[in-house]
C-alpha cells in the first residue's frame, strides 16, 4: 500500500499535509500520535469513508483514491467497535459475507462454516447467539475483530481498538492481535495514541503530529534516534528529558550539568544553544554519600514514582544561575525520599541533540 502526497483540508484548515508513506505487504504498521493529529482522518481516507483534497492512495499499484469503500476490500475496526446492536454475534460476524454475496443455499452453508471457523479462532463459539449488549468489553472487541477479518481483507485498519479495555485485557489483546496477524498475514495499519503499544506491536511505526509524519521507522530506530524534539518527547515512558544547553569548548552545559561532546556534534559551533535530550533510563540516580565521579552532579529529589524494582525520580539540579529538573532511574535497591540529596550520572552515548529552532535532530538525514 502506498500513499503519495495525501492532503486533507476542511475549509482552510489542513488536517493532513502532503503525506508520503509505503506499507509493505503483510506488514504490521503502527501509526501513533496524540489526539487530534489526524490519525483517524487518515484511516477514514484509507477506508474510503472520506475523500482526500489531493494526493493518491495505491494498493498493489492500483489507484483507489476515489473508489467506494465496498470496492476497496478494506476492513476497519472502530474504537467503539460499532457492532450492529440488533444482530446476534453470528449475524454480526457473517454480515460482511452476506452483504457481498447474493445468498444462495450453498453460500449460506459456506458462510456458516466461515463464522464457525472465525468464532473458533477468537474463542466466541459459545456466544454466537448473544446480542452485543450481552457481551463484555473484551468479547465485543473480539467480535469486531472477527467481523473485520472474516472476509480476508487486503488491508486491515484498526482505530485505537484497545483504548476501551482495562489494562489486563489490553495486554492480552495486544498479544492476541499479534497472533492474529501472524496467522492471517494481512497488511495492517494500526492507529493508537499509546506510544508503548506502538513500540511493542509494530513491525514499523510512523509518528504523526500536526497532520505530518514526523518519523517512520522500526521501533528500535525511532526509540534510539528520534528525528525531532516531538518524537523524542512522545515516544518512550517516562518521556525523555529535554532541556536547553550551551555548546562550549569540549562540553555541553545546562546549569550544573556538563556533558562531554558526542562525536556527531562537530558541526555545531561553540557558543550556540542546543536542545539536549536524555532518556530517564540513561540517568542513574544514586545516594549522595557515594563517591563522586567526574560526571556526577548532586541534586534534590522532588518526586518519586516507584515502579518496582526501580523507581523514577524527579531531581532538581541547581547551581548559582540555573536550575534543571530531570527524571532519572534509581540504581537497583535504592529508593530515595522526597527532599533527599542524590547524585545523578549520565554517559555521553545517551545524549540526543536537537536544533532548538527547527527541533530537528542534529545529523539526522532529512
Amino acid at each position: 500500500m502506498r500513499i503519495e502526497g495525501l492532503e486533507k483540508r476542511i475549509g482552510t484548515a489542513a488536517i493532513l499535509y502532503s503525506l508520503d508513506l509505503t506499507v509493505e505487504d503483510g506488514e504490521f504498521f503502527v501509526l501513533v500520535g496524540p489526539s487530534g493529529c489526524g490519525k483517524s482522518t487518515l484511516l477514514h481516507l484509507l477506508a474510503g469513508l472520506d475523500r482526500p483534497t489531493s494526493g493518491r492512495i495505491l494498493f498493489d499499484g492500483r489507484d483507489i483514491t476515489d473508489l467506494d469503500p465496498r470496492e476497496r476490500d478494506v476492513a476497519l475496526v472502530f474504537q467503539t467497535y460499532a457492532l450492529y446492536p440488533h444482530m446476534t454475534v453470528r449475524d454480526n460476524l457473517s454480515f460482511p459475507l452476506r452483504v457481498q454475496k447474493k445468498t444462495s443455499r450453498l453460500d449460506r452453508a459456506m458462510i456458516e462454516d466461515e463464522v464457525r471457523r472465525m468464532a473458533g479462532v477468537l474463542g466466541l463459539d459459545t456466544l454466537l447467539d448473544r446480542r452485543p449488549q450481552e457481551l463484555s468489553g473484551g468479547q465485543r472487541q473480539r467480535v469486531a475483530l472477527g467481523r473485520a477479518l472474516i472476509r480476508k481483507p487486503r488491508l486491515f485498519l484498526l482505530d485505537e481498538p484497545l483504548s476501551n479495555l482495562d489494562a489486563q485485557l489490553r495486554a492480552a489483546m495486544r498479544a492476541e492481535l499479534r497472533r492474529l496477524h501472524e496467522k492471517f498475514k494481512v497488511t495492517t495499519v494500526y492507529v493508537t495514541h499509546d506510544q508503548s503499544e506502538a513500540l511493542t506491536m509494530g513491525d514499523r511505526l510512523g509518528v504523526l503530529h500536526g497532520g505530518a509524519l514526523r518519523q517512520v521507522g522500526n521501533p528500535r530506530e525511532v526509540y534510539d534516534r528520534p528525528a525531532d524534539v516531538f518524537v523524542a518527547g512522545f515516544v518512550g515512558y517516562p518521556p525523555m528529558n529535554l532541556f536547553d544547553a550551551r555548546m562550549e569548548e569540549g562540553t555541553i552545559t545546562a546549569g550544573p550539568l556538563r556533558f562531554p561532546l558526542p562525536t556527531e556534534t562537530s558541526t555545531i559551533a561553540p557558543g550556540r544553544m542546543v536542545t539536549v535530550g536524555v532518556r530517564p533510563e540513561d540517568i542513574a540516580v544514586g545516594p549522595a554519600t557515594e563517591e563522586k565521579t567526574g560526571r556526577a552532579v548532586q541534586g534534590i529529589v522532588r518526586l518519586v514514582e516507584p515502579a518496582w524494582p526501580i523507581a523514577w525520580v524527579t531531581v532538581e539540579l541547581s547551581d548559582s544561575d540555573k536550575a534543571v529538573t530531570i527524571v532519572g532511574v534509581t540504581i537497583p535497591g535504592y529508593l530515595p525520599k522526597i527532599g533527599e540529596a542524590v547524585v545523578v550520572e549520565t554517559g555521553r552515548e545517551a545524549l540526543h541533540l536537537f536544533d532548538p529552532v527547527t527541533g530537528r535532530r542534529y545529523g539526522f538525514p532529512s
Partner: protein, 286 residues
C-alpha cells in the same frame, strides 16, 4: 431486613399533607383530561330519552342501540376502512420518504444542511387553511378529487416535515460508526440505511409513525374538502355529517367517537413498548 429498613425510610420521608395535595392535583388533572371521554362513554350507552336530561348522570339502564345504529345502519364502517387505508398509506409513505430524507440530512455530507432543516420547520408551521384552496384546485385538475389517494398525498405532505425532524434526531443519536462500519463492510449507502441504521432506530421510527398515523386518522379539514362521497370519506368527516336537519343524534355521535378512538388508543398502547429507547445500548461501549 434491608428492604424493611428501606421501606421505613421511604415512609418516614412521606409527608401526609404534601401527599394529599398531590393526590388532589392528580384527581383534578385526571378529571380535566378524562372527564369528556367519560361523558362520551356514558352518553354512548344512555337511552335516548335520558340523553338531554340531567339528572340522571349515570344512565338508569344501559343500551347498545347507539352502537348498533352506527355500526350497522350508517356509513361509519366504510369511513373507518377509508380512514385506516389513508392513515396506513400515509404512515408508510411518510416513513419511507422521511427516513431517506432524514438519513441524508443526518449523515451524508450536504451543503446548507441548517437551511434545509430550517425550511422544513417553516413548512411545518404553515397553517393548513392557507393551502387548502390551491390544494383542492390541484387535486381536481389531476382528477384525484374524492379519492383516497388525494387524501393520502395531502396527509403525507403535511406530515413529512415533522417526520423528517423526528427521524433526523433519531438517526443522529445513533453512533456514526455504525453507518461507517456498514459501508466498510460492503454496503451501499441505501443498503446501510436499511440493514444497519433503521433497525436500531426503531424507537424513533415508532414515534414518527405513530404521530403520523394519529394525525392522519384524526385529520378533518383536508378530509372534508377533498372528499365528496361515502366512498372516500374518512371517519371524522362521517361523524361530522351525522347531525340531521332537525336533530342531533348525541348518542350515535358518542358511540361513533368511542369507536373511532379505540384503534388509536390501541396502537399507542401497543407501541408504547417501542417508544422507550435503549435498543442502541451495547453497540458501543456502554
Amino acid at each position: 431486613m434491608n428492604r424493611e429498613l428501606a421501606c421505613r425510610d421511604h415512609w418516614a420521608g412521606w409527608n401526609v399533607a404534601a401527599a394529599g395535595r398531590n393526590v388532589c392535583l392528580l384527581v383534578v388533572v385526571a378529571m380535566f383530561c378524562l372527564g369528556p371521554l367519560g361523558w362520551q362513554i356514558l352518553a354512548s350507552v344512555k337511552p335516548d330519552e335520558e340523553l338531554v336530561r340531567l339528572p340522571p348522570l349515570v344512565p338508569t339502564r344501559l343500551t347498545a342501540a347507539h352502537y348498533e345504529r352506527v355500526l350497522f345502519h350508517s356509513s361509519l364502517v366504510q369511513a373507518l376502512i377509508n380512514s385506516a387505508v389513508v392513515a396506513t398509506g400515509t404512515t408508510v409513505l411518510a416513513l419511507m420518504l422521511g427516513s431517506c430524507c432524514a438519513f441524508a440530512l443526518a449523515r451524508l455530507p450536504i451543503r446548507g444542511r441548517p437551511m434545509i432543516l430550517g425550511a422544513i420547520l417553516m413548512a411545518s408551521m404553515f397553517p393548513p387553511i392557507a393551502i387548502i384552496s390551491p390544494l383542492y384546485l390541484t387535486m381536481r385538475e389531476m382528477g384525484l378529487r374524492d379519492s383516497l389517494i388525494a387524501l393520502g398525498l395531502a396527509h403525507t405532505v403535511h406530515a413529512l416535515p415533522l417526520t423528517i425532524w423526528l427521524l433526523t434526531v433519531a438517526f443522529r443519536q445513533l453512533p456514526r460508526e455504525l453507518y461507517h462500519a456498514a459501508r466498510v463492510d460492503g454496503c451501499t449507502p441505501l443498503k446501510a440505511l436499511l440493514t444497519v441504521v433503521l433497525p436500531p432506530a426503531r424507537p424513533g421510527l415508532a414515534v414518527a409513525g405513530l404521530l403520523t398515523f394519529i394525525h392522519s386518522w384524526n385529520e378533518f379539514m383536508f378530509a372534508l374538502t377533498l372528499t365528496a362521497s361515502d366512498t372516500a370519506r374518512t371517519a371524522p368527516v362521517a361523524i361530522a355529517l351525522f347531525p340531521g336537519l332537525h336533530d342531533i343524534p348525541w348518542g350515535d355521535l358518542a358511540a361513533a367517537s368511542i369507536i373511532v378512538t379505540l384503534p388509536v388508543a390501541g396502537l399507542a398502547a401497543f407501541f408504547s413498548r417501542h417508544l422507550i429507547g435503549g435498543l442502541t445500548a451495547g453497540s458501543v461501549k456502554g
